[in-house]
């Protein structure tokens, strides 16, 4: 083994010399972008409309992909107007598809840059960047004998993944789902079909007509509520109410919750710059650059031209919002994004910023 390993390493070094200063995978990208072992990508194989506002993307993942457990989400890097933005989407397809494909279902949200871009622009052949599946909002190996799913809006997507994978392994399933109207129910016909076949008991709630579902209403709809292993996914306030309700009943260990992370960052004037590695944190007044503020606070800052030309002062921002002092343009990084390198010499804080320095 060591000899072949050595030979293989040696051969690989020669291949790397052939392609220096870039790596062989960079040339491979030109021909087969899904074969790159270092950058996980996915190709859109098909786009299916679900409702007026939701589309399902059928994705072919690239090399080194690991299949998702039902209920998990993936982060997708989508180039929106040339800028790569990352968002998390639940996998909506059944686990272990023979063709190796998986689906995510994107529900357009108000002011949602990425969701509206995907709904309008996703086409067969489009390439997306991908991260491995993550999240512990999953079914246990031993399927529950009695299950309850409480979802609202696009909160149905991870649950759909679970149902498609394992509904036949669960004898007693109740799904309580709210959406604005009947037509807004994502996967509506499939859910109703499952209901008709008796595989699940579906309780649909249309908020425009019936009003919002309250946690207290659930007891009426599902009498044996707290005997059931429960998965809930939807907007934050709904989940807060449910969490409280289950805690009051002492049944919190039977409840599994998946939250949609709010990614709304609004630019203000000034903010805090936190340098995570040194632990230095400083208030940055409006119009002061992060470079100046960091130096004043005793942070060792890389610097160069100090006028936005040389890109030597860049630091990775993990999360936060900054404004370019030259043109006022705003850069936001959410915790779902990959860290973005910002030019500290021309960036003023426009809110709290976490920097990797």
């Amino acid at each position: 083994m060591p000899v072949t390993q050595k030979l293989r390493n040696g051969a690989w070094r020669v291949v790397e010399l052939i392609t220096t200063p870039v790596v062989p995978a960079d040339y491979l990208d030109v021909i087969a972008p899904l074969r790159n072992p270092h950058v996980l990508r996915a190709r859109v194989e098909a786009v299916r409309p679900e409702t007026d506002k939701a589309v399902t993307l059928v994705l072919r993942p690239g090399r080194n992909w690991q299949p998702a457990a039902p209920g998990q989400y993936v982060r997708l890097g989508v180039d929106v107007d040339g800028v790569r933005l990352w968002r998390a989407y639940s996998v909506s397809s059944a686990a272990g598809r023979a063709d190796g494909l998986f689906t995510v279902t994107v529900n357009e949200v108000a002011d949602g840059l990425v969701s509206s871009y995907l709904r309008k622009n996703a086409r067969r052949g489009m390439l997306l960047t991908l991260d491995l599946p993550a999240g512990d909002f999953v079914l246990p190996e031993r399927r529950p004998s009695k299950a309850l799913f409480v979802t609202a809006g696009s909160g149905i997507t991870p649950v759909m993944g679970m149902l498609r994978s394992a509904v036949h392994e669960m004898p007693d399933v109740v799904v309580v789902h709210s959406a604005r109207t009947e037509d807004d129910v994502v996967f509506g016909s499939e859910l109703r079909e499952l209901n008709k076949q008796g595989r699940i008991r579906l309780i649909e709630r249309h908020t425009r007509a019936d009003g919002r579902l309250k946690a207290a209403d659930l007891a009426e709809l599902v009498p044996d509520l707290f005997e059931r292993e429960t998965w809930a996914c939807g907007p934050g306030d709904m989940l807060d109410a449910i969490t409280e309700h289950w805690a009051d009943a002492g049944a919190e260990d039977r409840l599994h919750v998946e939250r949609f992370r709010p990614t709304v960052l609004v630019a203000g004037d000034g903010g805090t710059a936190a340098f995570e590695r040194s632990g230095i944190e400083t208030e940055v007044a409006a119009g002061v650059t992060i470079l100046d503020a960091g130096e004043a606070a005793g942070q060792l800052m890389p610097s160069g031209c100090r006028m936005g030309i040389c890109f030597k002062c860049v630091l990775p921002m993990r999360e936060g919002i900054v404004r370019d002092v030259r043109d006022g343009s705003v850069t936001t990084v959410t915790e779902l994004d990959e860290p973005v390198l910002i030019q500290t010499c021309i960036s003023a804080a426009a809110g709290p910023c976490r920097l990797d320095a």
């Binding site: 010399l17 200063p21 180039d79 160069g304 031209c305 860049v314 043109d327 006022g328």
Partner: protein, 392 residues
């Protein structure tokens, strides 16, 4: 503000400090306009360029496996020369300027890109982006002016060694990538004293350049020639195949060097381009910085293909005003910039490549000799400097 004041005709004597600041405001507005436009088109453009270049390189190198045969040698060498030029100019130079950092694609980013050149990207970014672009044409601060080996302005003191500068310039053109690497290392200065020679920071940078050059050389002059040996064996001439590919790679590198040297010389050397004094830039305002870029750069006129092959450095003026905007936009920006030059009666230096190259070379020859007349003394008829804002 400048050595301009020593000239017979000061090209900015007619501008008031308010005019200069107004120019800055107008240029900022142009910048804002194109920052707002920046997006998918630019991302697609650079991705397309990278794709074209890599395909061209792969196919040229494949053809050169048969370099034993003259038609393959010629075709492969032409293809590889074009590929190397594209790689350095339209792709490498522009990505390393951070023009495509906005895409947030770690593969196409100024911090991760490495190019096909003897000079490691990191060192080049320091000497080029930081020093040259900040101190454009400031005698004594911008080493790009004559690359530290040539006299390119009447104001510089003449010494007999300058007699050889046409020769240095020619040699530099042939080995341009190594010249740039040496220049990034500030080799002349750093080898001068023992203390500087042994400075660990300098040693580390020297080692970095050494590693880069070794890899580059191994690729072009060992590995790829060896790859064509099997074809050579099949046709009974392995040595011919080896040397064929080696010579093709060498020629392609020299073609790229000559081309980029010519284009780059056209950026700041032709007649009509101004230089500035070291003391002139203390407390420089944004408007004054812009003005220095406008007067210190020269364009090359030509077709779209010409602009692509120069990495859009044919739009040197626009590049120096907006070094971080995607270069493929410079053609769109140019008419607006030119209109601004006209409005403020400034000299927009441009011309076809042969003319600009000739003009730059003429200067190299002319300044190899001492000045015929003594340089003018300082003309004190300078526009009054705006008073420094009172300290708060």
């Amino acid at each position: 503000m400048t050595t301009l004041q020593r000239k017979d005709v000061n090209p900015i004597a007619h501008l008031t400090p308010e005019d200069i600041e107004a120019i800055g405001v107008e240029l900022d507005a142009i910048r804002d306009e194109f920052i707002a436009k920046r997006g998918e088109t630019d991302a697609n453009y650079i991705r397309k360029m990278i794709k074209i270049q890599r395909r061209l390189e792969l196919s040229s190198r494949a053809v050169l496996l048969f370099s034993l045969f003259p038609p393959a040698w010629i075709l492969g060498t032409v293809g590889l020369s074009i590929s190397k030029i594209l790689e350095n100019m339209e792709i490498g130079h522009n990505i390393l300027h951070g023009q495509y950092d906005f895409m947030r694609d770690p593969k196409i980013h100024s911090t991760t890109w490495e190019w096909d050149s003897a000079s490691p990207a990191e060192q080049w970014k320091h000497s080029h982006n930081e020093l040259h672009h900040k101190y454009t044409n400031v005698v004594g601060r911008d080493n790009d002016l004559g690359y530290g080996i040539m006299r390119v302005d009447e104001q510089q003191k003449w010494v007999p060694a300058h007699l050889g500068q046409p020769l240095y310039n020619f040699v530099n053109a042939i080995f341009f990538e190594y010249g740039i690497a040496a220049y990034d290392l500030e080799l002349g200065r750093n080898l001068a004293t023992k203390k500087r020679r042994n400075n660990p920071a300098f040693r580390a940078r020297l080692a970095q350049v050494g590693r880069k050059i070794r890899k580059q050389m191994a690729k072009d002059y060992v590995i790829h020639p060896l790859l064509s040996v099997p074809v050579g064996l099949a046709f009974g001439n392995p040595l011919g195949a080896f040397l064929g590919t080696l010579s093709a790679n060498a020629v392609a590198s020299v073609v790229r060097n000559l081309w980029s040297h010519s284009v780059i010389m056209c950026g700041h050397f032709p007649n009509g381009v101004e230089t500035f004094e070291r003391t002139s830039i203390t407390g420089e305002t944004r408007g004054e910085w812009y003005l220095r870029q406008m007067l210190g750069s020269a364009n090359i006129s030509g077709s779209k293909l010409m602009h692509i092959m120069t990495g859009n450095l044919s739009h040197q003026i626009e590049h120096h005003l907006f070094p971080d905007l995607p270069a493929s936009r410079y053609a769109e920006i140019a008419p607006k910039v030119r209109a601004l030059f006209e409005k403020y009666e400034l000299n927009y230096v441009t011309g076809p490549l042969p003319m600009q190259v000739a003009s730059a070379w003429a200067k190299v020859f002319r300044l190899a000799l001492p000045n015929r007349e003594k340089a003018n003394d300082i003309d004190h008829a300078v526009p009054p400097r705006r008073p420094e804002p009172a300290a708060v």
